[in-house]
C-alpha cells in the first residue's frame, strides 16, 4: 500500500515514534494474558526476540495491505501480501497473498490503483476467515513494512471490528529507516541553489537507489516482496556486519 499522495510523503515520517523504551517481551506476556481471541492469544504467546538480538538472527516478515482508501475508520483492507525473510535471505516459499471482501464499499478510485475489482472480491473470503492464518504467519517474527502506519492502523481497525481486540507489535519501517539514512543529506544553501532535493523515500525511488529492479506497484504480494528486498539492501549497505541489535532499527 504505497499510493500515498505526494504531500503525505514529503513530510518526513515522525522519527520520534521510534520508540525504544517499550519492553516488548513484557508487553507480549501481558497481552498474552489479557487477550481473549485464541489465535491472538497464541500470537502473543510466541513472544518477541529480545532487543539485543543481532539483526542477523531475527526472523522477519514483510507485510503489505491494499485498502479501499486511506482512512482506517471508513476504509478497509482488500488484500494482504506477506513474505518471510531474514537479513540474508527472502524465502518466496513462505509467501502468502489473500484477496479479501472489504466490509466497506470498494471505491472506484482505489480500484484504479490496486486493480482488485468488485467481481474479484465478490467471491473472496472475509477478513475474519483469514485472520487466524494471518496471525499464525506473523507470530515469532518482526514485521517489516514501508510506511508501517497503514499496516498497523488498518490491522488494528480490522481486529477491533471483528474481535473487538487490539494488536501491538514492534515493526521495522523501511521508509523511516530510509529517512534516517538520508538525514545525513543536509539541505544546504548550496544544494538548494543547485536545485538538489532531499532524496525521495518513496518505495520505488528507494529501490532505484539500491540498484533494485523496477517492480509494478500496488499488488500486496509484490509490494511486500519489494519492501523485503529494500530492507535487505538497506542492511547490506548500512549494517553489513548484521551485528547491530534489532532494537536499533525497530520501532
Amino acid at each position: 500500500m504505497f499510493y500515498l499522495d505526494k504531500k503525505a510523503l514529503q513530510d518526513q515520517p515522525d522519527v520520534r515514534t521510534l520508540n525504544k523504551s517499550v519492553d516488548w517481551s513484557a508487553e507480549f506476556a501481558k497481552r498474552n494474558k489479557s487477550a481473549h481471541y485464541p489465535a491472538l492469544k497464541e500470537y502473543y504467546a510466541q513472544g518477541v526476540v529480545s532487543p539485543e538480538t543481532p539483526l542477523s538472527e531475527v526472523p522477519l516478515v514483510a507485510l503489505d495491505f491494499e485498502t479501499t482508501g486511506l482512512n482506517p475508520k471508513t476504509d478497509s483492507i482488500v488484500s494482504i501480501g506477506l513474505v518471510a525473510l531474514t537479513a540474508q535471505r527472502i524465502r518466496c516459499k513462505e509467501a502468502y497473498h489473500w484477496i479479501i471482501k472489504p466490509d466497506t464499499e470498494l471505491k472506484t478510485k482505489s480500484v484504479v490503483i490496486h486493480g482488485i475489482t468488485h467481481s474479484d472480491v465478490a467471491s473472496a473470503p472475509s477478513f475474519n476467515s483469514i485472520l487466524d492464518a494471518l496471525l499464525q504467519h506473523l507470530q515469532g517474527k518482526i514485521v517489516v513494512a514501508h510506511h508501517k502506519d497503514i499496516e498497523t492502523r488498518f490491522l488494528n481497525s480490522a481486529l477491533k471490528h471483528y474481535i473487538n481486540e487490539e494488536i501491538v507489535f514492534p515493526c521495522i519501517d523501511t521508509m523511516a529507516l530510509e529517512a534516517r539514512f538520508s538525514r545525513t543529506f543536509k539541505r544546504t544553501f548550496l544544494r538548494s541553489l543547485l536545485g538538489q532535493k532531499t532524496p525521495s523515500i518513496r518505495l520505488t525511488d528507494c529501490r532505484t537507489r539500491y540498484n533494485l529492479p523496477y517492480y509494478r506497484q500496488h499488488n500486496a504480494l509484490t509490494d511486500a516482496l519489494a519492501c523485503a528486498e529494500l530492507l535487505q539492501a538497506q542492511i547490506a549497505t548500512h549494517y553489513p556486519e548484521q551485528s547491530v541489535p534489532i532494537s536499533a532499527i525497530w520501532c
Binding site: R89, C92, K93, N211, P213
Partner: protein, 629 residues
C-alpha cells in the same frame, strides 16, 4: 502450496533457459526461490565453499574469477552461476564477487537437478560442458533441411559403365547403347601412383554422347579410334560422402555437366547436372548463369542485388556456413571469369599465357557478402615487361575496376593484380614463396599470409596447383617458418565474452561492437592454416584443412572437433547478421553490436571464443621457436 510472485515469474519469462519451461514448471520454480542482495564488492561465492544453490542474477552484475585471480567472466541480468558446484557436487572452484549492487534469485539444488534431468532444452542451455552445447546448437540447425544436407550417394542410381582406355569408340558406343547411358568412364587400373597423384586419378576420363558427335563424327575420325582420343581427361570427381551442394559447386566451378562419383578411388556412379537440379535450390545457379550471360560490366554490376538476395535466401533456408561460403566463392569466381572473358574481348587474346589467382577467403571457399578483392596474376616465364606488361596492366585494371563495381571493393593492402609486384611470371612467384618460407620473418609474413590461400581462377590453373605444391612441400614441418606464421596468427584474439550490451575483452575493457571477422573467423582460419601447413594437409577450405589436421593427430583429442564447431558457429553468427542487415536494407558489415545478439548466441559465442582462445594457446606452445615438430 506456495504463492507465485508475478514479478519473479515475469522475469523468468523474459530469460532463457527459463522461458523454455512449461507454464507450470516456471511458476513452480518462481514460487520456490530465495532472494539475496549483495553490495558491490562483496563476495557471493568463495573458493572452496560448499554451494547448494543456483544463482540467477535479477539485477546488477557479478564477476567470476579463476582460482589464480584472473577474470573469467562478467555476468549481468538474466545470467547465472553456481551450477558447476551443484552438478559436480564439489566445492566452489570459481569465486564470484558482486561488481555492482546485485539482487540474485536462488534456486535450490534439488529443483535445479530436477529441471536439468527432466528438461532437455533447459539442460542444453545450462550445460557446463560448453563444447557439447556448441555442437548441439550447430547440429539442431543442420537437421532442419534434408535437401541441403543430402549426400551425393543419395543421387546415385545404377553403377557407371566403365571401360578400359584401349576400347574403341565404336565398342564404347555399343556398350552405351546396351546399357542405356549417355556417358562412360574410362579407367586405367594399371595407373602408376606417382608423388602427387590423388587417388581419384584411377579414373582417367569420361566420354559422353556429345563427345562422340563433336569430337569423333564432326572431326571425321575413325570409329576404331581409341576412346582416349575423344575423352575429357583431367576429370573432376566427387566423393560419395560429399554433400550434394559440393557436387553442384564443383560443376559450376569447372563448368562440367557430369561428375563421376567415387568411393575412395572406386567409381561407383555418375551424376549429372539434372540430378542435382532436383536437389538444390537454384539460387546460386541462377546468379552464376546471369553472370555468364552479362554482356558488359554494367550488366555485371547490376547483379549485385541478386547476389545479396541469393545470400540471404540461403541463410533463411538454413544452409550451413560451408554451403554459403562456397556458393559465394563460386559467384565471386564467376564474376572474375566473366570479367576476364570481357577483358580478352576488349584487349584481344593474351600475348603470353597467364593465370589469374584468387587469394584469401575466395580461395578458401569461405567468401561472404562483405569482402574485398584479393587477387594476383601469374604470367608465363617468357614475360618481358617491356613487351607484355601494357596488356596485363590493362587487363588487371579492367578486372579490378569491374570487381569493385560488382561489390568487391579494392583491397586496401594493394593485394591486387593491378599492383606490379603481384603481376609477375611464375618463376618470380616461386622466388616469392621460397623467400617467405625459407627466410621467414614475422614482418615479411605479416602481409603475405593471404598468399598461402591461393586458387587458380582463369587461364593456366595448373600454375596455381604447382605453387600450392611448392608451398606444401616447403612448409611441411618447417619449424622456423611455422613459428613466424603462428606468431602472426596470434595477433588477432577473440574477446572474453559479453556483458550487458558490451563486448568484454580479456582485460575487462568493454567495447560497443565486435568485428566478427577480425576477432572470430579470421583468427580461426589463420590458426587452421598454420596447422594445415605443418602437416602438409591438402585443401584450402578451413573445414577441409581441419579434417586433415585432425587426421594427422597433432591436436589433443577432441579439440579439432571443438574448433570446427566454434568456426561454424562464429561464421553463422556473422552470416546471419549480414543477412539481417540485407533484409533490413542496411549495408551489411562484419561489426555486430551485442544488443542484436540473442541470449543463445551470446552464450554459444562465449564458448566458441573460449575454444579459439584455448586453441591459440596450444598453437603458441606447439610452434614456439626452436621446438622440434
Amino acid at each position: 502450496m506456495a504463492i507465485e510472485q508475478v514479478e519473479v515469474t515475469d522475469f523468468f519469462h523474459r530469460h532463457k533457459p527459463f522461458s523454455d519451461l512449461a507454464e507450470q514448471e516456471l511458476s513452480q520454480l518462481a514460487s520456490g526461490i530465495e532472494i539475496a542482495y549483495y553490495k558491490a564488492g562483496s563476495p557471493i561465492l568463495t573458493f572452496g565453499q560448499d554451494n547448494n544453490q543456483w544463482f540467477v542474477i535479477r539485477s546488477g552484475a557479478v564477476e567470476v574469477f579463476r582460482r589464480d585471480g584472473e577474470l573469467y567472466n562478467r555476468l549481468g541480468e538474466g545470467n547465472f552461476f553456481g551450477e558447476l558446484a551443484i552438478m559436480r557436487n564439489r566445492p566452489v572452484r570459481f569465486p564470484v564477487v558482486a561488481l555492482e549492487d546485485t539482487l540474485v534469485y536462488l534456486i535450490d539444488a534439488e529443483t535445479f537437478n530436477n529441471l536439468f534431468d527432466s528438461n532437455e532444452q533447459f539442460a542444453d542451455f545450462v550445460e557446463v560442458e560448453d563444447r557439447s552445447r556448441l555442437r548441439d546448437s550447430n547440429a539442431d540447425r543442420k537437421e532442419n533441411d534434408s535437401l541441403l544436407t543430402a549426400k551425393v550417394e543419395k543421387l546415385i542410381g545404377q553403377l557407371p559403365l566403365i571401360l578400359p582406355p584401349n576400347t574403341t569408340v565404336q565398342e564404347a558406343a555399343v556398350r552405351m547403347t546396351e546399357e542405356g547411358v549417355s556417358s562412360v568412364l574410362i579407367s586405367n587400373d594399371q595407373l602408376s601412383v606417382n608423388d602427387d597423384a590423388d587417388d581419384e586419378e584411377l579414373v582417367i576420363g569420361i566420354v559422353t554422347d556429345v563427345d562422340i558427335r563433336s569430337r569423333l563424327v564432326a572431326q571425321g575420325l575413325k570409329l576404331s579410334s581409341p576412346v582416349t582420343d575423344i575423352m575429357t581427361s583431367q576429370l573432376t570427381s566427387v566423393q560419395s560422402h560429399q554433400y550434394v551442394f559440393e557436387a553442384m559447386m564443383l560443376m559450376l566451378k569447372h563448368k562440367v555437366t557430369h561428375l563421376p562419383v567415387l568411393k575412395k578411388s572406386q567409381p561407383i556412379g555418375l551424376i549429372s547436372h539434372q540430378d542435382i537440379l532436383r536437389y538444390e535450390s537454384q539460387n546460386s545457379l541462377f546468379v552464376v548463369k546471369s553472370i555468364f550471360n552479362a554482356l558488359n560490366v554494367d550488366e555485371l554490376a547490376a547483379l549485385k542485388g541478386e547476389v545479396q538476395t541469393c545470400f540471404s535466401r540461403m541463410v533463411h533456408e538454413d544452409a550451413n556456413s560451408q554451403m554459403i561460403g562456397s556458393a559465394m566463392a563460386v559467384i565471386g569466381r564467376s564474376f572474375k571469369q566473366r570479367l576476364l572473358e570481357l577483358a580478352e574481348q576488349e584487349f584481344g587474346p593474351p600475348p603470353i599465357p597467364y593465370c589469374f589467382l584468387a587469394l584469401g577467403s575466395m580461395a578458401r571457399d569461405e567468401q561472404l557478402i562483405v569482402t574485398d578483392q584479393d587477387n594476383a596474376l601469374v604470367l608465363d616465364n617468357r614475360f618481358d615487361p617491356q613487351i607484355h606488361d601494357e596488356y596485363f596492366d590493362a587487363l588487371a585494371n579492367f578486372v579490378c575496376d569491374g570487381l569493385d563495381r560488382c561489390g568487391y571493393t579494392y583491397c586496401k593492402g594493394g593485394i591486387m593484380a593491378t599492383n606490379k609486384k603481384w603481376r609477375q611470371p611464375l618463376k618470380v612467384w616461386e622466388q616469392y614463396f621460397s623467400q617467405w618460407i625459407d627466410k621467414p620473418t614475422p614482418e615479411t609474413l605479416l602481409n603475405s599470409a593471404i598468399f598461402f590461400d591461393l586458387d587458380g581462377v582463369w587461364g593456366k590453373k595448373v600454375w596455381a596447383d604447382s605453387l600450392n605444391r611448392l608451398i606444401r612441400k616447403k612448409a611441411y614441418k618447417n619449424a622456423r617458418f611455422l613459428a613466424c606464421l603462428a606468431r602472426n596468427a596470434l595477433l588477432r584474439t577473440p574477446p572474453l565474452g559479453f556483458f550487458k550490451d558490451f563486448v568484454m575483452e580479456t582485460d575487462g575493457r568493454q567495447t560497443n561492437s565486435i568485428n566478427m571477422k577480425r576477432r572470430g573467423t579470421a583468427p580461426i582460419a589463420d590458426l587452421i592454416r598454420v596447422h594445415a601447413l605443418s602437416v602438409g594437409a591438402k585443401g584450402r577450405n578451413s573445414f577441409a584443412r581441419l579434417q586433415g589436421v585432425i587426421e594427422s593427430k597433432i591436436l589433443p583429442p577432441g579439440r579439432g572437433a571443438d574448433l570446427r564447431d566454434a568456426l561454424e558457429f562464429i561464421a553463422m553468427v556473422r552470416i546471419r547478421h549480414q543477412a539481417f542487415d540485407i533484409d533490413m536494407q542496411r549495408v551489411p558489415d562484419n561489426d555486430i553490436e551485442p544488443e542484436y545478439l540473442s541470449d543463445f548466441e551470446r552464450k554459444n559465442l562465449k564458448d566458441a571464443f573460449q575454444i579459439l582462445s584455448d586453441a591459440q594457446k596450444f598453437m603458441k606452445y606447439r610452434y614456439q621457436p626452436g621446438r622440434h615438430l
